[in-house]
Subunit: 124 residues, 2 copies
């Protein structure tokens, strides 16, 4: 029997958190949100497709920046209320041009920046 996106547990807004992880390096790239439609679109197109809470619309990651995420595999957690996307990330995942959105860390009680923005390349 095929996987049914409606079998996942969405919150009151119809959304489920989605973690994107670089399938090759294991780096956690970002956390975004999906509704059932974006789960379906992600599986059908193999392009990470989120739900933009600010724009209230489907958001095909990389459509404007070129920094697409090709889906390698979608995983589901035990409570069916979170998904993990193993992806092939083109360019930086973060809109700040850093590889990952998780670029600050708390060290000895101080928040420090762990990586600088990447130089803009000509890729797309």
């Amino acid at each position: 029997m095929g996987f049914d996106p409606d079998s996942l547990t969405y919150d009151g807004r119809g959304l489920i958190p989605a973690i994107a992880q670089d399938h090759a390096t294991g780096e956690v790239l970002m956390l975004a949100w999906m509704n059932a439609e974006s789960v379906r679109a992600t599986l059908e197109t193999a392009r990470a497709t989120y739900w933009s809470r600010s724009r209230n619309s489907l958001w095909v990651k990389g459509d404007t920046s070129g920094h697409v995420q090709r889906l390698v595999e979608m995983r589901i957690d035990c409570d069916r209320d979170a998904v993990l996307l193993l992806v092939e990330q083109v360019g930086p995942a973060c809109h700040t041009m850093r590889k990952t959105c998780f670029y600050t860390g708390i060290r000895d009680g101080i928040e420090v920046e762990l990586m600088a923005p990447e130089a803009r390349s000509g890729s797309r």
Copy 2:
């Protein structure tokens, strides 16, 4: 200036999603929720401490199971509305006794189980 947990962006329930990742293997273990108090407790005790939405109380991961998560580093994302915990995981992270909660994957449109429960050990 020290890191202030109140500088994070919490949702309408006062919660922020927290991803736990094995710091050594890079495996994403689970997604849970934190409020400002649990962010503070996690940093102070170096033990992952979540907010249990079902019990409506602080949940020190592993307090009953022994499957604690020692905090190696907390990271913050660009929007300050998600945190990433790099942890040292003792035993399986999942209550189903699997290493990670993300133990099913969608392959060729079918949801398949990717790992079996671990045998219960005597470790604590």
